[in-house]
């Protein structure tokens, strides 16, 4: 069921690009940081859309150590590789992604933090 909707959405950028080719907003790929509730007080943090020029495995390794949490890489059919971390690591991962010294040094604007 959900796949249908996802297909629709992946198609959307094209529609927009066609519509007004002058200003295509969709050129910018956002990194989405999301949170999901698990049972009890537990949560999961998912990071979606890290550019493929970075080695996700290495990122995960560093991040796991730094945040003292476990995590895994999930390769989703539509979303590509998603890093999934245990616990609410949203602020930490955002800092990591934007940090120029010890992180990826990405632009703050490309990152979207979702959730409550």
């Amino acid at each position: 069921m959900s796949t249908e909707i996802e297909n629709l959405k992946t198609y959307d950028p094209f529609a927009e690009a066609d519509e007004d080719s002058g200003k295509t907003k969709q050129t910018q790929e956002y990194i989405h940081i999301r949170i999901q509730q698990r049972n009890g007080r537990k949560t999961l943090t998912t990071v979606q859309g890290i550019p493929s020029k970075f080695d996700h495995k290495k990122i995960l390794k560093v991040v796991k150590k730094e945040f003292a949490c476990n995590g895994t890489i999930i390769s989703d059919t539509e979303m590509g590789e998603v890093i999934q971390l245990q616990g609410d690591q949203r602020t930490k991962i955002k800092e990591f992604l934007t940090d120029k010294e010890n992180g990826l040094g990405l632009d703050d604007k490309t990152i979207k933090v979702h959730g409550f």
Binding site: S2, I5, E6, K9, D12, A15, E16, D18, E19, K25, H32, R34, I35, Q36, Q37, R38, N39, L44, T46, Q48, I74, D76, M79, V82, Q84, H114, G115, F116
Partner: protein, 333 residues
Amino acid sequence: MSTEEPSLQRRASRKSVAFTDEKLVVDADGSVTMVASPNDDTKETAMSHTPRTPPLSAALGAFTDAASQAPAAAPAEDADGLDLRLMKKKKKAKVETAEGDDEAAAPAAGEEGIDLSLKKKKKKKVAKDDDDFAKKLEKLNIEGKEGEEAAPESEEQEGDWEKGTGIFKHDETSTINYSPLLSRFFALLSQKNPDHASTGTRSYKIPPPQCLREGNKKTIFANLAEICKRMKRADEHVTAYLFAELGTSGSVDGSRRLVIKGRFQQKQIENVLRTYIIEYVTCKTCRSPNTELSKGENRLYFITCNSCGSRRSVQAIKTGFSAQVGKRRKNKA
């Protein structure tokens, strides 16, 4: 007052959002948070094209601050430029309100809005004109002890510019300081043109979301329909956004209440609603919440502002990746 406090702090922590959005944001307590927002904006963003509130509230802050903390230090800072003082005092004042030290004085002033802060200002101006340090000290001390004395004192100053007495006398040659002039300007503005004066502080208010717990794992968002009605948005759109942001799913029950899977507190829902309003309700051009969301051509959603007529496209709500939570066996079946 106690309900006002958390919202103050929350606003302070939300630094990524510009104050423009902040102003229009849900004021869930329904309380007047005039002190909070001006403080925020000058601190975080330099863009204070609406200089009316910041200086006033800042002066207020400066005063409470000076009175309570260091009466001796205050005159010296009075002598400084206004801007400098603003910058310096802002943080301290904020902390104080948060801690509840001078709590009683500050929020009360905030509720009364411009008037009270004006009065306080006026006092200061008098002190300055006298150019008497001892006097200033005295005044500060008096204010520090009780705010009551401030009122009658300011009353006699009230007549100043209206009647043309004191430093506003027609043949008075001494230069009038910036701050009294500024306060005079805003007092006049609020008198003669209240609409204009109030635009900066107006905040968009919607009723706070009512959250109930159903069983252990579900949350009921009871007044979704009401909120949607206020925002003039379709229930489905808001629900879709909520589910996407919260990373859950849910349903609508018989009495149009939203049942969300997972445990959520009211403030969490509030935060999501806030982002929703910023993204899908307020007009980015004029900040008015009086907008309409419509489906344009090509499956794109457009927001049309009813007050300024601007039109912009908004992103479709995307669910994004959602990890598998719970038992896998359940999913298969």
